[in-house]
Structure formats: structure tokens, C-alpha cells
Symmetry: C2
Subunit: 309 residues, 2 copies
């Protein structure tokens, strides 16, 4: 981990809205970077507010968005995508001129249009997406080094202020992340294939297994080490968050899903036709993709799949 | 790990055919259990024979199956499924009366018919499947505790000798495994959903990502931590082994794949229709399956998905 403590800190007062895995981790990472930043937190349930305060995710926490301080420099939306527009509508009148709103949503294009449609001229929006997480959620799930050496993608629109974009970039770098600037539409396609479709098919296979009439559920659990288990981990991610991601990135998700289904039909035909050659070549090709990921430092060679502990 | 050293050892001389991850791990686990068992090993390549001897997976190793000792008590087939019939045909004339052949194949029904069709009366076949493995393969991949507390399923046919079935059960228990007896057809359905379909869709999504025209491959690798990475691990498993599994379990695989595709169509429609309720309920249901797997001790609560190291 490389702490960039010599970097200027563009935001002295920050409000985090949503204190789950991502919001909570941001709070802890901000505190790790500097103890001079004031952190206000907001959550929907009393339980989350209490847990956030007891874990020290933020300095003060509230249920009611009207409690937002008028001198906040940066607002971070770390709630499910479907809540963004109503939150921005509610807090905007209380924000000072030049205040920056950023977000952590996994889909960008639709949300940018929605937010910019209601955003006052005096407030800036810098769309962002830290690509980090685990299958856990809630105020107990966050940790300070979640973003260390992970990518955070910022997806400016035509309206995004470039100085504010740079400030948000510096903010994420201070938390340990590497920042990439990307076109929102392209971001949505990249994330559809690297994250959204993998989650969708993981959810789907777990659902299929759960509903099977001819195989006992107990056996599915008992013999899950053969591959299924790893899908259940992915399919344990937060249901509301993922519901919103699929609906907010439906165009790219449905497009990629069509490619996926066409490819699956070809594999199906090859199995039906005992086409040894097609299958072997296909599986050799996919093995190479794994090599590239390890070489790029995005995963370790360490054996994990099928571990028996 | 519970070593059952007090258990009788039914086989004094063992031949392992195939010295990859599974065959090699069997060799090491046999040696851990007892140094009084003689292990003969066979592999297709000179490189594997040399690596197996240098790692001490077996006591002696050969390329040529005709070198098999005539006093072998147990032959273990640990090669890809498509090779079983020709191996059994070749070695059977050299095996003593009462010798037992077992296997480690992930699909059972078709292979049982194939082998029993050519098996001499004097030799026994006990079909087996240790449900353990990693995404690694080859003679360097095996380790002695691979089978500890993992299931090994034995799938006797009508012709299987019950005494020999019990001997093979004791053999696997001596290696640390828990043994379950199951009907071959049912085994094939259970494995189709818990292992074969998960592998097939992992291979498929990696293939889709690799062929995309509108997203750069570099970006797929760079942002793979969002879910895709975990699929590439599964899709790095041995291509020949998996080619053979799909073709040898095509009936169950194609049946389950139809369920999977129907379920995926429903998720697709829900995304198209902005059906928040359907998606949320579906994702909550799959989250519960994860809980059951952790409660059954088939995985740990430990966060793994999305780890950044």
C-alpha cells in the first residue's frame, strides 16, 4: 500500500450518504489518510447509524438528510442507484456554492442524465465508481484498505467541471486507489462484461439449483465444492444494490447477455454433437485469459477454487 | 484432518494411471497413510513420468501400460474419461483374478456401461469420484491432503461386487475422504448442477469476454476484480478433462442447461421490464443458499471474492 500523504487534500468536510460496505470503507479510509477531515454520515436505519458510530466510520451520523451541514465540500452517494435522484433533490438546496457531489454507483450513463437533470447550477457532480468490494454488506463489512491499489473509474459528462474532476481524482488517490478516467457509455459496457453479467449468471445458476425438482437441495449444498460454491459467494452480494445495477445498466447488460447466450448455444451444440475438438479449443482459449489476469496483477496464482478448509 | 490409521488396508499394491492433480494427490495421500503400499504410476508423457518420480508421487513410473505388475490389487484410473475404455482394454489381460479397478471420473453412467462392456469376469470395477480439486493440473499440482474431509462418491452398478465396494470405501477413508454411495444416474444429475454447469458457464463467459468487439481485452483484464476474475479461475481448469466430462455427461448437462436458460430468460425479461420486485426477490432467495452452504461447512464465511492482494 502506498499512502500519498504529500498530496493535497481538496475536501475538508465530507458527507457520506449510505454507510454500508462502500460508504463505511470510505469513512475508514478517509480517517486513515487524515484525522483532520470532518465526516458526516447518513443511513436509512437507526441500527446502521448506531453501528457506524460505534465502529467510528464517521464522526457524526444521522437518519435525516436535512441534517446535512451547509459547509460540506464533498457529498459521496454510497447508496443503491435507485435512491440517487431523490437524495440529490433533497440535499441540493442545503449545499453551498461549489460543493461537489460524487457517487460510487456501478452503472453510470442513466444516473448521470438523471442527476444532471435536477442538479442546481451551483453544485458540481463528478460521477465515480470504485471497483472494489466483497460479497458482504452493511456497516460491519467495511475496512480501511478496501480501495488500496484498486481501480476507481471516474466518468465525466460534458458538463463535468475539470477542476472538480481532478479534486475527486486526488481524493480517491488519497484513499489508496488508482484512478482512471473513462467515457460513461464505455464504462457501462466494460462493467457489464466484467461484473454485471458474471453476477447475473451467478445469481441465475444459484436460483436454478434452488428450484430443481429432480435433485435434492441438500445434495446441492453437500457437493457444492465442485464449482457451485464459488457462484454462491458472488450471488450473496447485496440484493437491492444489484437489482438497481441491472435496471440502471439494462442496455449494456442485455446486449452482453445476447452474446453470452449465443456463445452458450454453440457450446450446447458442440456437447450434443460430441464435438471434442470445438470444446477442447474453446477451453484452451479461456485458460489463456486467466494467465493474462494473473500477469496483470488482478489475481494471484495461489490456488483458491476448491479449497477444503 | 482425521487419519484413520486403525483401519485395515485392503490394497497392498496399487497402480495409478494418470499422474496429474488427482493421480498425484492420491499417490501422496497413500504414502501419508502408509509406507508399506507399493505404488506403480503411469503417465502419457516422459516429462510427467520424470516429474512424478522426482516429487515422489509413486515408487516407480512408466509410459507403457504393458509394464503393469501382474500382482496389482487396485488400479486407479485418474486420466480423462475418454481414455478409460482403451486403458481397461489394454491392462485387463495382465491383471490377476480379483483385481479391482476404480476411477476418479466426474461423470459415471456412460463410463460404467463402456467399462463393464469390456471388463473380464475376473476383474472388478468400482466406479468412484472424489469431489476435490483445484484449477491447477499436472504432476506438480497434487498435494497429500487434497481429499481430507472431502466427499468421495462411489456409484456401484448392478454388477459391482459389494465386498470390493467396501474395500474401495475403506481405501478413500484412509486417504482422509468421507465416502457416500450413490446411484450413478443421480450422481450425474447432482454433479451437472453443482459442478458441470458452473464450469460450462464460467468457460462461456470467459469466451464471450475474449471475443467482444466493442470492449477492449485489456480493459476486461484490468477491471476483472468486479466478478469476472473468479470465473476465469474456474475456467482455467484442465481443458481435456472438461471436454470429456461434458461429452460423458451430456444428458444431464443439457437438461440442466435448459433449466438454466429458461431461468435466465426470466431474469432478462425482468430487467427489460424494470421489474424491481422480481429481481429483488430472486437475489434475496439466492443469498439464502449461500447461508446454507456455509452452515454445512462447505465454505467459510471468510471474505474472498474481490480480495485485492
Amino acid at each position: 500500500m502506498l499512502l500519498k500523504n504529500n498530496m493535497e487534500n481538496p475536501f475538508k468536510k465530507i458527507a457520506i450518504i449510505g454507510l454500508g460496505l462502500i460508504g463505511g470503507s470510505i469513512g475508514l479510509a478517509v480517517k486513515r489518510f487524515s484525522n483532520e477531515i470532518h465526516l458526516q454520515g447518513f443511513a436509512k436505519s437507526d441500527l446502521t447509524v448506531k453501528a457506524a458510530l460505534s465502529r467510528g466510520l464517521v464522526s457524526e451520523a444521522y437518519l435525516d438528510l436535512s441534517q446535512i451541514n451547509s459547509d460540506i465540500d464533498l457529498v459521496i452517494l454510497a447508496t443503491p442507484l435507485s435512491s440517487f435522484a431523490s437524495i440529490v433533490k433533497e440535499i441540493s438546496p442545503n449545499l453551498k456554492d461549489g460543493c461537489v457531489i460524487t457517487d460510487t454507483g456501478s452503472a453510470k450513463s442513466k444516473v448521470i442524465i438523471e442527476i444532471e437533470d435536477i442538479l442546481p447550477e451551483s453544485v458540481h457532480f463528478v460521477p465515480g465508481h470504485p471497483i472494489a468490494g466483497t460479497e458482504m454488506s452493511g456497516p460491519e463489512a467495511g475496512f480501511a484498505d478496501l480501495f488500496d491499489n484498486r481501480w476507481c473509474v471516474l466518468t465525466p459528462s460534458k458538463r463535468t467541471n475539470l477542476d472538480k474532476l481532478n479534486d475527486v481524482k486526488a481524493f480517491w488517490e488519497n484513499l489508496g486507489a488508482m484512478v482512471e478516467i473513462m467515457d460513461p457509455e464505455y464504462h457501462d459496457k466494460v462493467l457489464a462484461i466484467t461484473s454485471h453479467i458474471p453476477h447475473l449468471i451467478a445469481y441465475n445458476i444459484v436460483g436454478t439449483a434452488n428450484d430443481l425438482a429432480n435433485v435434492n437441495k441438500k445434495e446441492v449444498v453437500k457437493y457444492s465444492a465442485g464449482g457451485f460454491r464459488d457462484f454462491t459467494r458472488i450471488a450473496a452480494s447485496d440484493p437491492i444494490m444489484w437489482r438497481d445495477i441491472f435496471i440502471n445498466n439494462s442496455d449494456a447488460v442485455l446486449e452482453m447477455l445476447d452474446y453470452f447466450s449465443n456463445d452458450l448455444d454453440k457450446l450446447k451444440s458442440a456437447i450434443k454433437d460430441n464435438d471434442y475438438e470445438y470444446l477442447e479449443n474453446f477451453f484452451k482459449k479461456t485458460r489463456n485469459v486467466r494467465k493474462n489476469i494473473i500477469e496483470a496483477g488482478q489475481d494471484t496464482q495461489k490456488v483458491d477454487f476448491g479449497r477444503g478448509d
